[in-house]
């Protein structure tokens, strides 16, 4: 296993023509040896291009790819020892599952007894024992994808494994199980892994560190928890989380000598940690709060001014919880709040919302404002 580094990569398609597109715009990224990483972003953000540059299928316009410090930018894919699992499983139908798993080792002239040992280890890990002598054409796409994974990691000298949207063909009900086996294999073998996807759920469950790309740039590379708790800008705030962070345009007002966010007639406290960083003259400010951090109350809190009255516009069941889309009274501002799956509320109902100050993020010109 190895450390993979991309250094100041830039990639331009159709350079010098009318169709010239900058797909990757000066990206630096280091994947530590043995770690699980994800590359996440919307369609067209450049993530697949970056993956192909790492695997060697594509030569970058500028920049370097290093494996354990060695510059491999000029090397063809075969000399990089990087395994790849594609969107749709690539399997040899002419061999059984055992033959598929053993293939890279047989190619390298490994003795059969060693091959058997290694195949057995992979089969145990990925739970392929029962199908070792089946033909891949009789198995579904899920199992074939596991075979492709097993074949990718069977050689002990594999430096890294890259996944390109590997769940595309997997039946929804089977995804949980497949995700788990992929993750367990990564952990067991401590393989440096990079998992490319547009699906934050897959990225966050697989990876310790997630790199988020947008328009060819790397926006933030952090743990899932940091991405969720401390997004560097409003894009990450919205992109991570399902639904994303509530991002509310606000003014800045002073109240009891402390800056507050002002939304229509409603005044919202922000964490004392960032009071000193906020300038009362700012415009283009937003506050961000996660739907799971919004406190919902159905009874009128009367004198308690920390609660903002709102009306429920929509109730959706999402990911085991209910998401209420509410509108703050006397404004057109929408706020989503998460409540338990058996919280009974009707569309049109009046409720009261509280934004605990420690969970409120403050953004100026879409960039996060942090305590110094």
């Amino acid at each position: 296993m190895a450390e993979i580094e991309v250094r100041d990569i830039r990639h331009v398609y159709d350079a010098g023509t009318a169709d010239e597109t900058v797909a990757i715009d000066h990206v630096d990224l280091t994947l530590q040896d043995g770690t699980a990483n994800a590359l996440l972003g919307p369609s067209g953000c450049g993530k697949t291009t970056l993956l192909q540059i790492i695997s060697g299928l594509l030569q970058p316009t500028e920049g370097q790819v290093l494996i354990d410090g060695e510059d491999v930018t000029e090397k063809p894919p075969a000399e990089r020892d990087i395994a790849q699992v594609f969107q749709f499983p690539v399997i040899y139908d002419s061999m059984d599952v055992y033959g598929n798993l053993a293939f890279p080792l047989r190619n390298g002239g490994t003795p059969e007894n060693e091959i058997e040992e290694r195949v057995q280890k992979i089969a145990d890990l990925l739970e392929l024992n029962d199908i070792l002598h089946s033909s891949p054409s009789n198995l579904g796409p899920e199992l074939n994808q596991l075979v492709a994974l097993g074949r990718g990691i069977i050689r002990a000298d594999t430096s890294a494994i890259l996944f390109d949207e590997p769940m595309t063909d997997v039946e929804p009900a089977r995804k949980l199980t497949i995700r788990r086996r992929v993750k367990e294999a990564q952990q067991e073998f401590e393989i440096t892994a990079l998992y490319v996807t547009h699906d934050q759920h897959e990225a966050l469950t697989f990876a310790e560190q997630v790199a988020i790309m947008r328009d060819g740039r790397l926006v933030q590379y952090d743990s899932g928890e940091t991405l969720y708790e401390n997004p560097v800008n409003t894009f990450i705030g919205h992109f991570i989380g399902s639904p994303g962070m509530n991002l509310l345009e606000c003014g800045v007002t002073e109240n009891d000598a402390a800056p507050h966010a002002q939304i229509g007639p409603h005044t919202i406290s922000v964490s004392a940690d960032i009071h000193d960083e906020i300038d009362l003259s700012w415009t283009d400010c937003q506050i961000g709060i996660r739907p799971s951090s919004v406190t919902v109350q159905v009874a009128d809190p009367k004198e308690d001014t920390d609660y903002i009255p709102a009306t429920v516009d929509q109730v959706e069941m999402v990911g085991g919880y209910q998401i209420l889309t509410t509108r703050l009274d006397d404004t057109e501002v929408e706020v989503k709040a998460r409540v338990a799956h058996d919280f009974m509320i009707e569309e049109g109902a009046s409720i009261w919302l509280n934004f605990p100050p420690d969970t409120v993020q403050f953004f100026h010109e879409k960039q996060a404002v942090h305590a110094q």
Partner: protein, 371 residues
Amino acid sequence: MGIRVENLHKSFGTEQVLDGITLDIPDRSFFSVVAPTGAGKTTLLRIMAGIESADAGTVHYDGEEMTDVAVQDRSVGMVYQEFINYPSLTVRENLASPLQVSDENYSAEEIERRVQETAEMLKIDHILNNLPEEVSGGEAQRTAISRALIKEPDYLFMDEPLANLDYKLREQLRSDFERLFSEEDTTVIYATPQAGDALAMSTHIGFLHDGNIIQKALRDEIYYRPRYLPVAEYLGEPPMNIVPVTLVQEPTSTDRYFEVDDDTRIPATGFDALSPGETYHLGFRPQDMTLTENGAEASITPTLSFVETVGSTSTLHMDFQGREIYALHPNPLHLETGASISFALDPKKFYVYDPEAGDLIAAGDKIPSFS
């Protein structure tokens, strides 16, 4: 303007796909047909829309028999998983095309008015002059949906229309659909294998299993009261936990338990109608499991095999007596794989199923009921 299908049968070769389906789809509902891939959802949709014919059975729209009426003579729109647009026409021309080829002789002004109105509704008015290849996947799919909607059909059939879209777009469109169709007169029939999509958008859900709709109900009703095990095990993210148990009653007290094995007994308070000595399948939702520090309070103590944390939610994958069960926790959890984790379970949130017939025979007091 609902749809009624009666006794629909359909086989492909020796494989029977639909086995006598009878179903009422209420007027202006957003009705999701949910089932795993390959269960026959698409076939059912195509027969209801008139694209395919059934081997036997009838289809009525608003009380009128439509079984043999060709699809072009019905007021229906179709949206497929693949975005089908004319590549050489702009988005504007794509939207206008169903009106231009229609027998209704729409005036140019009327066409332009409808194109504008529909484009604004689906938020594609900024790309009307682009070609389909110049827009994003989400915009292309919204173009396809707009084309299906522009004739203001009474019935809109959608077959996994979100399957090929980016995660964030899917989330957005799910929310938009729910809102859009709650205001429209259209009856929507929506096929999906994604329980989450159906739960987010639908007014009604029908679950297709072994060629039949085994339960059809309001969204909340089918979620809170899944009448059969296959429905319970499918409609949830993650699915309901199911554990085989035996009801036991101590000879010396009135306390009753669901016994999993000699070491594990779960309180069965409130289930007085069940018979001691009988076996049942006990169901409880992953959201209804409460972590407990105190072993004495514990109802069950499974072994942790895997934790997935996304944002503020942790999903615990656990092994319990050789079965995989799940718990959903509203905060991030950092726990060691292999640890024993104790949960308190609330019998008021239990579901009890018949192990053979698979039907719901009892539910706890806190499970919402529907008359």
